[in-house]
Symmetry: C2
Subunit: 472 residues, 2 copies
Amino acid sequence: MNEQSAQSRIAQLRSILGEDSVLTRPEDTAAFEVDQRRLYHGHALAVVSPRQVEEVAALVAWCVQHRIGLVTQGGNTGYCGGATPDESGLQLVLLMRRLNRVRSIDAANFSMTVEAGCVLANVQRAADMADRFFPLSLGAEGSCQIGGNLATNAGGVNVLRYGMARDLVLGLEAVLPDGSIWRGLKSLRKDNTGYDLKSLLIGSEGTLGVITAATLKLWPKIRSGATAMVAISTPADALALLGLLREHSGERLSSFELLPRVAIDLTLRYVSATHDPLGQSYPWYVLCELTSGTTENLNEQLQQTLALAMERSLVLDAALATSERVRLDFWRLRESVPEAQRHEGVSIKHDISVPVASVPDFIAEASLWVRQHVADGFLVCYGHAGDGNLHFNINRATDGENQAFLAREPVIKRAIHDLVARYHGSISAEHGIGRLKREELQRYASPVQLACMRAIKHALDPHGIMNPGKVL
Amino acid sequence: MNEQSAQSRIAQLRSILGEDSVLTRPEDTAAFEVDQRRLYHGHALAVVSPRQVEEVAALVAWCVQHRIGLVTQGGNTGYCGGATPDESGLQLVLLMRRLNRVRSIDAANFSMTVEAGCVLANVQRAADMADRFFPLSLGAEGSCQIGGNLATNAGGVNVLRYGMARDLVLGLEAVLPDGSIWRGLKSLRKDNTGYDLKSLLIGSEGTLGVITAATLKLWPKIRSGATAMVAISTPADALALLGLLREHSGERLSSFELLPRVAIDLTLRYVSATHDPLGQSYPWYVLCELTSGTTENLNEQLQQTLALAMERSLVLDAALATSERVRLDFWRLRESVPEAQRHEGVSIKHDISVPVASVPDFIAEASLWVRQHVADGFLVCYGHAGDGNLHFNINRATDGENQAFLAREPVIKRAIHDLVARYHGSISAEHGIGRLKREELQRYASPVQLACMRAIKHALDPHGIMNPGKVL
């Protein structure tokens, strides 16, 4: 596109969306042209921020007419470059931040309707003020937007009990790739009228449409809870502890996070206001939390289960959170691992899952591989072990050299992902595909699945307007 | 198709599937050419029952080649004619009953893999024998098949706690409309690698492919429970009781069924071994059940909540199930309503849902309409009120006349469904669309949704092989 036609298009956009909704100056657009991990640096024709769904629809219709690719962006907290434009200067970045109203809360129906640009923490807060609980919770909740959470089917720390983002949605409003508005904001628990378009859009990472609003499920507010940091010898003991907690506490078990000592060490070293949770150092830790929407003595329940686990030598040591402050300290250790890893230096990350029962074997085999093949790196393997989801990250060793280390990233990823495939696992448990794992998906997904996805993509978005070059 | 070409096709089918897998004699095929409500009487080219997924794939490929429509049938217990062939004699009925193996159970991973032809009760039993719980439960569980449950996204009595069939599935194996086999039997809790084909196939009623096997989620076995039959004055009191039970028992509340006195009367009249559950007659009843995977005194908990509800005049009377026999008696009253209605005579049925908080208003307004407009009928409105799902059925009055009554079915359905639409409800909460509600779907679904569904159908099944004439 030459400069003149670019200017004419921007003028058209301004006439559709209004002057102040179309950003083009580099100082205004730069933050939206790079992903938060700084893996991708794109260049957009413009960054646009409409105010309502009808404007989004008009924008999409315009994009179809002019064959302009549209990259929808929420809080720009994704890990896979799914919300970053390419380098062509021909794509638009669509910001959802002005569609940020909580449209309604129906406490009796345990549901609320929010616009895509609502920051997740604000959604949680609005639910809380209505004496209800919205369970989606993750590290970026202060800046990520619910629309992005849904587009990527976000996971987080409460999946064990409440499921992924897809499981938390009753209805959607979305602009489809032909510019039509699908007004599917139902608040029904049961509805068997046709194909599940909602689940299809959720997790499609903006490639099948733009989610503009959602009706979310709410739960009774949490009235009791208990949290413990537990020291264990091995991931196998973690699995046995998980079984015991399930047996004694059933669905009250809402989080079960596995941490190796090295993750605690890094966090203590680089993140302020963190404390070693137990008197001494242990090989592995489990951060577990029970919650209930009714009044119960969960501390006693958790204590009893942990005592039993100690008798059975599954648990080496444990500390119950005796106050909300201590509880937040425990969670800070867990949530700060990515930050600590960044401070330590470059790393090679894998967001993978295997069947829960295979977690110990997988960790053993994959760790051995890292020890044998990555002399200039060390493993930080932690995550939502209760769901089988591990963040399997390899940091450069202190005496290693960035370039040499990162040069081997493709080889290392290949080996780890091949191992994941052998365990019938997933190469992207919760972060999605985006741009980062597009080639990986081609390798690990079955040809039948890919053909099916392409057929759906082509049927709904024949001109390839929606987030081009992502996922497929 | 002339007789000669029909014979040649049947010979081809026999060479693909084997002699004994292709039924053509009327006495062998008749049972599969009519739906269980006897609304549709079809005529098939043949009824085929392959033994394995590869045979299903070969069959579909053959159907594509010869443009033969394929109607997949499970236990033939559907309410909407979705598994019945048309009258042309050109479609095939595909029985899944020989694909009936439990392929594996992984208790530690809380999952099991079963073939589509497994009878639901057998799936429940297999889970139970592995000390696990599979929660899908409905009246037809002794004969319906899990493949049909998934194809129609079945609901049942445990949706309140565990969700619909779609929510109970981790992975699928299916034959797609081009004859390819999608081997998607993952047993992962978290997997964000591409579009959610699983949710798309589930609930598509055989129009997008043939589900041949599924990996199902399991839960801890139920270790405590409490069941009560509760008498109340109005549906509004039922809603208040639901709130109270949620507050006191949280997710332990697994069933909350609403029954009007007339449903109890009909059941007592027509179904053997049923007993009036309380000392006298009351306007409405709630059958509620608490369950837990851990050992708890739920009887005491339920009793306390009901006592509180009585103090607040929400509950008129209540009986706790003091033994498993009494519990089964209570459930027999609930599960026998459809049978009792059949004995009473013809009826006009609606399987609808509204937001849970709107249930009382909807019942009031819809009941008034029935009283004012259907002099020759009486209402039996019951169902899964905890999910907002009502079976809103109108029986012919004793002194009414079948033909005149049924002649008004379209007018009555239109009025009830229009009212449902006004309440932002669903015209098919759990039974699906099939053939029965195809025109209704055209009326009540948005043009955008329908266009999107048609685009997906055409993309995946361009020759219209899969269950032609159903849903769309």
